[in-house]
Amino acid sequence: MTTTDAAAPAVPAADDAREPVLSVRDMRVWYGTERGPVRAVDGVSFDVRPGETLGLVGESGCGKSTLGRGVLGLTPPGSAVDGEVLLRGTNLVELTPKELQKRRGPELGLIFQEPMTRLNPLMKISEQFEETLRTHEKGLSKQEIRERSLEALRGMGIPPSRYENYPHEFSGGMRQRIMIALALVLRPAFVVADEPTTALDVLVEAQIIKILADLRKNFDTALVLITHNLGIVAEACDRVAVMYAGHIVEQGDSREVFANPQHPYTKELLRSTISLSTTGLHYIPGSPPDLGNPPEGCRFHPRCPVAMRGCAVVEPPEVRLRSGVRSTCWHQAIEVDPSLADELGTDGREPLAAVKEISVADEA
């Protein structure tokens, strides 16, 4: 996939001032299945800078969780990662498992969806902190370990009196705070939070979002927040990347993307979200494609209300718009660079003859 930077000179690269902590280029994650390889993440590129939060959104099965885990080298056996995942210049894809393990914790953190089962039930909270600190910072005294752990816990609102308790003595919200403290006690520069609030109640969810929002300010942590909840992205993320069928179809400043969504998928996704301002129900017909056998051309074209004939044949390039937003759609590509229209062929810009009837049969 090529990026046509047609409008780039017009846009001052204000947010590019700081070097990215994490720079992902053309990353792919493949799974071997009985039906052949599945490209769960298929050529994804993005940057995350210190103190910045990038929201990663999309329907389930679009590859967002796989992407998050792929960065940390935690994809399941039978999968392969290629491309570049540059953490401050080091390509993580080329590291040995052992080298990667040493970086997980002090440089790369991961926060999970369901906090109830993420702590070892047989170990006290204190033991899980001691294990983590001992592994990565050898030579810390017992007293130092205790102080560091208590400090991290207090930052998350867990009183020191609970340090010697077992996981089952905490509520779901508290366990998620403990998980976050456990990730932050090593002060990683980059953290992936995979649906960190999905299993939690509304008020606790809001508390956790607040904690994550404070994180980037207080620690300068670069955060990738994976969620299906667009509301969370709008409230907690600086930038957003919208994923569809293994691709990032649109990424940019989250205010800009939510205010002026460009890619048809982003528009449809926003319209179909039920929020407090919903007055009528809208939904995207059909379901995301089978990643073992994705459609030709643009992967969204079978469900796209504005698909053109060429969309079903030629894959669209990623273009950078005047707003700084990057979109991977022929409509924006032609807008930015009209000469690209030639690639679509002679009647490539005709509307795709009646997007074929999509019934419930194809529903997700």
Binding site: L74, L122, Y166
Partner: protein, 343 residues
Amino acid sequence: MSKQSGSLRRYILTRIALAVPMVFILLVLVFVMMRVAPGDPIAASQGGKLSAVELAARRHAAGFDRPLYVQFWEYLKSVGTLNFGTTFSDNLSVRDVIIQRGGATLSLSLGALLVAIVIGVPVGLLAGRFRDRGIDVTGRLFAIVTYAAPAFVLGLLAQLAFGANGLGLLPTSGQSSLLVGLNVPTTTHILILDAAIAGDWSAVGDIAQHLVLPSVTLGLIIVGVFIRMIRVNVIQTLQGDYVEAARARGIKETAVVTRHAFRNALVPVVTVLGLQVAMLLGGSVLTEKTFNWPGIGQALITYINARDYAAVQGIVTVFALVVVVISMLIDFVNALIDPRVRY
């Protein structure tokens, strides 16, 4: 800290308190069971040998002509003092029979358990860790074969292979060589311990040799369950959420596997282990028979055939008590290693 240990102590105390009604119910069951059999025990064991008058006298002496509640009270007293009277068939003290034979069974059971743990735990852990690889396939096959093979077949095979007619390496009958057994002074009734206490190391060696084949045979029979159960637990915990979380914190793979996966996988095994011990104590009759082991299982069968009521009642009562004690111990161990149990 104090809160936790306090609750553990409270757990143990309540657990002991709860064992009391359980023991009572078991004793009632044993008492009733012994009495629903047709005829009375004296007539059953001595009928035809004694005259009617003598039978009645014996019955009176044994107390069988008294009301049931009086008999039950006597029974409870006998349990309280652990004095179960004398056997009808060979006039031995029931308590002595239980202690002597029980000692033999206990050493066989513990030996078998040791074999099962030493083989089962590592094979199970490795099979689960290296799923579908050589060790796993072999381990599973081994587990199925040993699990399916009847005790006497395994025992006979072992005797043929290692006994006098085969390699001639190991003794195949009894607890010890004849003279050795007689010369060891009795203290614990577990022969090998007694020999060790007496400092007679050649006797210890002899007894240990005698112990090998029966223990391995019995151990192999139960090891299949261990292997399969531990394997499944390891596979499950390795896919567990907290294992992935530990990896995500960069915990070393060896620590992830041992501290998080193996340890947690072994928790449910404690329960099975305890149940197996309880089963071994009563259920090793076939192995005892095969190796001519003077255990309590063999004794029980003999006494049942002889309709020796006093002996059977005594032995069954002790079995019941042992099962209660073991299940209590299982609960303690579980509470000790798994904090969630204490609540």
